[in-house]
Amino acid sequence: MKQSRQDDIIQDRMRPGVITRDGLLGHDRRPLRDILEADDAEVRRLGLTHAAIAARMRALRDAGAEGLGEPVTVLDHFEVRVDSVRGLLPCPFPHEGLCRKEFVDVRNLRSGGQVVYTELNIHLIEAHGFYEGLGAPFRQEPAILARVLEI
């Protein structure tokens, strides 16, 4: 699908200094539409959906939040720590609502894998199928999410 004018506006809001200091695009020079389509294809290749990935991320976040900032063991072999700092982040896509500034650190004690994601990541994947651009600080690789979170 061709990048629309609306996509351009959204992509501008993903640049460094607009919503977050480092932005959501990293060193990725591709148009937003291409980033979305590539990750969508990857998720389908994995036999998953964005909703399923986001649901697993959210379930682990919710369980980890019980620790009030301390690590919590979830499902016997995940160590989950949810930290939150002051402030809220808007989504770069045009709709209302804000995400808390939360960091979810998940360690799979069985495999040794680790992923760190934010509440904004969960929302972006769930609502927009956006995993952030390559090289972005919180870029989520669908395959790594699937492997570490055992989706």
Partner: protein, 365 residues
């Protein structure tokens, strides 16, 4: 061939002309001249236009609280703009309720000064000053919390209420190419007007916390502004339930220090949550306060004590310990400081114990 050369020449001339036109437009249309800002109908100032209202006011030494450095991600820098702000921006609307939008409340970091403005700000913000201070001491309170002691130099004194916070400026360094501000509660008591203490927990890759933990040295000069915030001791006799974790210790310590100085007789229970013994700090200070204050108890709680800690105190999350200790909170007041997650969890427990939300105090970041 000649026709081709003429066509190329004409094309080049048109392109050059267009480029010059664009440069001229950028240099003239984009430039904003001096603008007048009228504050609270009284104070007037003429400023250079083109920057955000937040940055412009800061240059005029009027400091609007902001925890994100003007990125539009904290929603703190709300001011009333009666005239000249232009339409609401999509970056502002998520932060403003319909009532606030109707009342012309805007985010100062998002409003650009492009024409004359009429704004309204709380009078107490005129009391906020910028300070130059020298780092007098840096002490590791735990493996990830540092106490920063600052001697004020210019101006040499600060007057604040226990529980308030300041904004510390981080100069450009490896993690930021522009100065940024972050909010920290003052940990020392307000009676000490020449020196303030901050307690800063290290956050991996955090711009300010990395600067403080890895780069700041004793003797360095820093810039801060403040004081800000409404969090603090209330004028009441009600029992106090203080709940904090990590660097949330700071404002509670300031409040307790002031209570000790003034001989405040209020019953006070202070629940402090940590993971293990190595995350606890200021234990001796708190034990001393237990002797000084008429009715004060410090109740540290460890969520996951190490066997080597030989911990005999409370075990569990701080919210669980509060729930065990407090039967009826309907007549008490709560003072909370910690991560948003912790505050949310505390509010839930306190509500279950009968405390009305109007009696639960915390900085609303």
């Amino acid at each position: 061939m000649t026709a081709l050369l003429i066509a190329v020449g004409v094309l080049c001339a048109i392109n050059t002309g267009l480029a010059l036109l664009l440069m001229l437009a950028a240099a003239t249309l984009g430039r904003v001249g001096p603008c007048r800002i009228t504050i609270n109908g009284e104070k007037e100032m003429t400023v250079a236009g083109g920057r955000s209202l937040l940055a412009t006011l800061k240059d005029e030494r009027i400091f609007i609280p902001s925890a994100c450095g003007g990125r539009g991600s904290c929603g703190l820098c709300k001011v009333t703009v009666l005239e000249g702000a232009g339409p609401l921006l999509p970056t502002e609307t998520p932060w403003l309720t319909p009532e606030e939008q109707k009342a012309n409340i805007r985010l100062a970091c998002q409003v650009k000064v492009r024409r004359d403005l009429q704004i309204r700000i709380p009078d107490e913000l005129f009391q906020v000053k910028q300070y130059r201070a020298r780092v007098a001491d840096l002490t590791d309170l735990t493996h990830d919390i540092k106490q920063v002691t600052l001697d004020l130099e210019d101006p040499p004194e600060i007057h604040f209420k226990a529980g308030q916070y300041i904004q510390l400026e981080v100069p450009p360094y490896a993690l930021t190419d522009e100065p940024v501000y972050r909010a920290y509660s003052v940990a020392s008591g307000p009676a000490d007007t020449r020196r303030i203490e901050l307690e800063i927990r290290y956050v991996p890759n955090g711009i300010c916390t990395t600067y403080v933990h890895k780069h700041l040295r004793v003797g360095d000069t820093v810039t801060l502004n403040g004081p800000y915030g409404e969090f603090g001791l209330t004028d009441s006799d009600a029992e106090m339930l203080c709940i904090a974790g990590g660097s949330g210790m700071a404002p509670i310590k300031s409040i307790l220090t002031e209570m000790a100085r003034t001989g405040n007789p209020r019953r006070c229970r202070y629940f402090f949550g940590a993971r293990a013994r190595r995350d606890l700090f200021l234990l001796e200070f708190m034990r001393e306060l237990e002797k000084t204050l008429p009715d004060f108890r410090f109740i540290p709680a460890l969520s996951n004590p190490d066997p080597a800690d030989h911990w005999e105190g409370e075990v569990g999350r701080v919210t669980e310990v509060v729930a065990r200790h407090v039967r009826d909170a309907s007549q008490a007041e709560a003072f909370l400081c910690g991560s948003p997650l912790m505050i949310d969890a505390c509010i839930q427990v306190l509500r279950e114990k009968g405390m009305p939300e109007s009696k639960i105090f915390y900085d609303k970041f």
